[in-house]
């Protein structure tokens, strides 16, 4: 057996202190991804720090922000009355992910930290720059049907796998992180990274930091929001393409809009240019089509995933259309 030390702690402060003690240690919460990675030999931490008992499961409104603790389970968030009322897009995205059993144990922080599902990353006999920098990218020239069309690099074309994060980036979320010295805040859009020359890094969390909570500003998008997920089967499958949409429509005019896509990049992909185009325009099919077209600038297929160049704009139109139709 590859042995590891298992520690349990009940405060964020002590969790961070334990993390600092040993470079090769990892937090474990739901463990729905980490345990897979350990079983497959992709990662082998010396120390697992169980943070499930750290009291970070709160879901509440404070002023104009909805606060979600990093250890709230996916199910707890998706079924929370406040979330369903004020941030239905987040609930929809969460419920589109994984399976009920996984959502019951998976946490918000863990969901942000989950690693790509690229098959080459999981098979230690295959090349993968994300797992073993310098070994090459198996997916380029290989099986890349699930892979990225935006922001790719010659080192890695993996996609970020989360549904929740697509909603979070659309909702202008802020992430609160802590280290031994204190807290810092970063925008959710700056949390995950593109692969670039460092495909081994998925995000900008520093080695001495812990995710504490999310802060999501309340908005007027809840009525006309929608999460479209296109996948190979109706549940328990990663997105080929997913689209998170929130619209604020006054007299058929779009006064506010959020658009983000999943299954297309190494990070949640916000469609800022499409949003800017739609703002102030009529909520018509023609404008939706134009917004979808704008979103596809700089998209690039790798062979097996070329279909995404068509599926992605189609899905944007579908998501916008459904969001608009909600009464």
């Amino acid at each position: 057996m590859i042995n590891f030390q298992y520690l349990r702690t009940t405060t964020a402060k002590s969790a961070i202190a334990l993390l600092l003690k040993d470079k090769n240690s990892k937090f474990i919460a739901g463990g729905t991804n980490l345990i897979d990675l350990m079983k497959r030999g992709v990662t082998a931490p010396d120390k697992l720090i169980d943070i499930n008992h750290v009291p970070l499961k709160n879901i509440e409104q404070v002023g104009n922000n909805i606060i979600i603790g990093a250890l709230a389970s996916n199910t707890a968030v998706a079924e929370n009355a406040l979330i369903k009322d004020k941030l239905p897009l987040l609930a929809m995205a969460l419920n589109a992910g994984a399976s009920a059993q996984l959502r019951n144990v998976a946490t918000v922080g863990g969901n942000m930290m989950q690693r790509t599902r690229c098959g080459y990353f999981y098979d230690t006999e295959m090349p993968c720059n994300k797992r073993t920098p310098g070994s090459g990218c198996g997916a380029i020239g290989g099986f890349n049907r699930m892979h990225a069309i935006f922001g790719t690099s010659e080192n890695c074309i993996a996609v970020h796998p989360s549904d929740m994060c697509i909603a979070l980036i659309a909702l202008d979320t802020t992430v609160v992180l802590a280290n031994a010295k204190g807290e810092r805040k970063i925008l959710f859009k700056d949390f995950h990274r593109l692969a670039g020359d460092t495909p081994q890094l998925d995000n900008n969390l520093k080695p001495d930091e812990m995710i504490i909570r999310l802060e999501i500003p309340v908005n007027n998008l809840s009525k006309n929001s929608h999460y479209t997920k296109v996948r190979d089967r109706a549940s328990y499958a990663f997105a080929l393409i997913s689209v998170a949409v929130g619209l604020e429509i006054v007299n058929n005019k779009i006064t506010d809009v959020r658009l983000a896509m999943g299954g297309v990049a190494h990070k949640p992909w916000r469609l800022t240019e499409s949003e800017n185009f739609l703002k102030g325009k009529e909520a018509t099919l023609e404008n939706f089509e134009q917004a979808a077209k704008l979103a596809m600038k700089d998209a690039k297929g790798f062979g097996e995933n070329d279909f995404k160049l068509k599926m992605a704009p189609n899905s944007i139109i579908e998501a916008l259309t459904v969001a608009k139709s909600k009464a």
């Binding site: 006999e125 295959m126 290989g142 089967r233 549940s235 328990y236 393409i241």
Partner: protein, 707 residues
């Protein structure tokens, strides 16, 4: 089943056991001193092992032994010419990626797993090909093995027909993926006595294979397999990994358990072979079929050939004077395939039944009308009448239940927002087999009956069916009957495959019950009792605690006189999203025409399971290989998409339920295969009806709809 709880014919004899966890599967047996084996597998696809370093593994905590070709554990059959094609631990040759090259045995599973990761092999690599489609296109000039060509009338008559089509159909590798992982517990004791707890579709077959490989008397080997957590064909042979486990147990004189990983399920226990097929159809303008050509290539391995009945259906399913078929297998550097539910017939039916739909479209005919018009009166291939066939009635029932009258012949006619709706139909057919089996019956004075046979139940409900046959014949309540199976010491029966168990073993149960009945009548007469006396009274009067009889039963001349098949008609309604390409099956109606329905609940479950498997075959299942490395990419349940509940709509099952007057005493025919055969074509045909897109490559994933 022992101590079964079965209150009426709507219950399964093992239902309570399965849902309460009392059913014991092979891996759950605890033997004293049990050890754990983990297989080390090749990481190259073709070549030779040049060195194998097992030292670190041997020194790892808890490790008892490491076996490989270096120590060649004793298996006499492997020393001889011929014998098994893949001689595990007797060769340094690598035939496929993931081939077992060593087994590490330790005192815990975790320690064996870790130690297995320490075994280091070096290889001399050779070039290889795992791409079946490429192999087929490269193979045209080579001499291929397969099955004899078939020809009736004019060859390729479709080419000169008034209306003709010629199309190519592609199926990927599918992996059986039953819930239960494969493996075995082997306990080799002194004096060459061997007990195994196996996951097998045939306890006698497993027993025979072990006897043959190790050259020990068959009666030395006891095989137990009372419950099997799904097989779908993959447990129809004793795989090299099982032989490896027996070898290890013999070598260390301790019981050894091996349960392979889900990833190893993709490489070690077979798959539905990929196939490339061409169908040519010719017809008169009035819809009379005048030519059928079916040419198929199936995937096989380089070290062992595997063939199946891909082109069977074309020979008899439709009235047509000119039919020719050809079937060859093309080797690739992968593990040898094996039958997967419906087997080759399901592969063939996708092509043929898609092509029939394409021809109906070319003729601008309703595909049901076209099929009915060409429904054969007799089997033209064998020149015999069908023993029983009610296809037209099945068409009527299914069409009414699915709402076929709503269907428009012009595709794309039914639209609801972005969704396009369509209807599809397909036939499934499979040989109604009947083999030879023995059953022992013990009728007891306490009013109970025990029946025994070395058959299996991989899920269809064997024990339930047999119990119901006996209950009906002897008038004994179902809760007083036990049917024992999955034990090689019981009277012999064939493996459970090819939809033959009910017909084969059920006939022997019938014969045993008839015999017991006449024995009771004789005993009654001897004791001057009324001929209608209850057997309990008769046995008591005769001072007999029990009477027993063993009967062997098999088919007679009727199989020479009649052509015997089971049939199914699958109707599906689909909706296809025009923007995202997502296909949703909206409703399923499957109609079975397989003689008498002995056990309504388990028969329905068979059809439901077949439909679910059919949805997987049609829409989601595909084993993907990176041909640069020869390794599977999606070898897990997250990425290999078996349908989930959310993919499955309402399934209606109907049966014609008329006895086949010739097949066997019950008039009942098998139905495990027909539940799946043809289903994928019904979906593809419905997708065409909805969208006008003809998808000839499975599975029908959203990208193919958008292409």
């Amino acid at each position: 089943m022992r101590n079964q709880i079965l209150k009426d014919e709507n219950d399964r004899v093992d239902g309570i056991y399965k849902v309460t966890g009392k059913a014991k599967y092979f891996a759950e047996y605890e033997l004293p001193g049990l050890t754990y084996g983990v297989l080390v597998t090749s990481t190259i696809t073709k070549g030779k092992i040049t060195s194998l370093d097992t030292k670190a593994a041997e020194k790892a905590p808890g490790v008892i032994s490491v076996l490989s070709h270096l120590n060649k554990p004793s298996a006499p059959a492997y020393e001889q010419e011929g014998g098994p094609a893949l001689k595990i631990f007797y060769t340094d040759k690598i035939f496929f990626n993931g081939q077992p090259i060593a087994i590490v045995v330790a005192n815990t599973f975790e320690r064996a797993t870790y130690a297995a990761s320490l075994v280091k092999a070096t290889y001399a690599k050779e070039s290889f090909n795992t791409d079946f489609e490429k192999a087929v296109s490269d193979a045209s000039s080579k001499k291929l093995q397969g099955q004899p060509d078939y020809k009736r009338g004019v060859e390729d008559a479709y080419k000169t027909a008034e209306v003709s089509i010629e199309e190519e159909y592609h199926l990927p590798i599918e992996t059986h993926n039953p819930m239960e992982l494969h493996g075995i517990i082997a306990d080799w004791r002194p004096n060459n006595q061997v007990t195994v707890y196996a996951k097998t579709q045939g306890v006698k077959a497993t027993q025979g294979t072990i006897a043959n490989v190790f050259k020990i008397p068959i009666e030395n080997i006891q095989v137990n397999s009372e419950f099997v957590g799904g097989g779908f064909g993959m447990a129809l042979r004793t795989w090299p990994l099982e032989i490896a486990t027996v070898m290890a147990s013999k070598h260390i004189s301790k019981p050894v358990k091996v349960v392979i990983t889900r990833m190893q399920m993709f490489t070690m226990v077979g798959n539905r072979p990929a196939a490339v097929q061409t169908i040519g159809l010719g017809a008169k303008k009035d819809g009379t079929l005048t030519g059928i050509t079916h040419r198929a290539f199936g995937e096989t391995s380089v070290y062992e050939n595997f063939t199946e009945g891909v082109v069977n259906m074309a020979k008899f399913m439709y009235q047509c004077d000119n039919v020719n078929t050809q079937y060859s297998v093309v080797p690739v550097d992968l593990g040898v395939p094996i039958w997967m539910r419906g087997p080759g017939e399901a592969t063939g039916a996708f092509a043929l039944e898609s092509a029939i739909d394409e021809m109906a479209h070319a003729l601008d005919m309703d595909p049901l009308v076209f099929r009915t018009k060409n429904d054969p009166e007799k089997d033209q291939q064998r020149n015999k009448p069908f023993s029983d066939k009610n296809i037209k009635e099945a068409y009527r029932v299914g069409a009414q239940k699915i709402g076929w009258s709503e269907r428009k012949n012009k595709h794309g006619s039914l639209v609801d927002g972005q969704w396009k709706m369509g209807y599809g139909v397909s036939i499934g057919v499979f040989n109604a087999n009947r083999g030879r089996a023995s059953v022992k019956g013990i009728l007891k004075a306490d009013g109970s009956l025990v029946l025994q046979s070395a058959t299996s139940d991989i899920g269809p409900g064997t024990g339930t069916g047999m119990t119901l046959i006996a209950s009906k014949l002897l008038g004994i309540p179902v809760d007083r009957i036990k049917f024992e199976l999955g034990d090689s010491s019981l009277p012999p029966a064939p493996s459970q495959g090819g939809s033959a168990t009910l017909s084969t073993v059920g006939s022997a149960v019938n014969d045993v019950c008839v015999s017991l009945k006449s024995t009771v009548a004789e005993l009654a007469a001897n004791a001057n009792m009324d001929a209608t006396s209850n057997f309990v009274d008769v046995l008591k009067k005769n001072n007999l605690p029990s009477i027993e009889v063993t009967k062997q039963s098999q088919a007679g001349k009727e199989r020479e006189e009649f052509s015997m098949y089971s049939f199914s008609i699958h109707f599906v309604k689909v909706k296809v999203h025009s923007l995202t390409g997502v296909v949703k099956v909206d409703k399923i109606v499957s109609v079975g025409d397989s003689g008498t329905i002995v056990s309504p609940k388990t028969a329905r479950s068979q059809m439901v399971g077949g439909a679910v498997g059919g949805v997987g075959m049609a829409l989601t299942e595909e084993s993907i290989i990176d041909h640069r490395y020869g390794r599977y990419i999606n070898n897990n349940f997250a990425d290999y998409h078996v349908p989930v509940n959310a993919d499955i709509p309402e399934i209606e099952v109907h049966f014609i339920n008329k006895p086949d007057p010739h097949i066997n005493p019950m008039g009942a025919k098998g139905m495990g295969e027909i539940a799946l055969i043809g289903f994928s074509a019904a979906v593809a045909n419905a997708v065409f009806n909805a969208t006008g897109k003809r998808i000839r490559t499975l599975p029908i994933t959203p990208d193919k709809i958008l292409a």
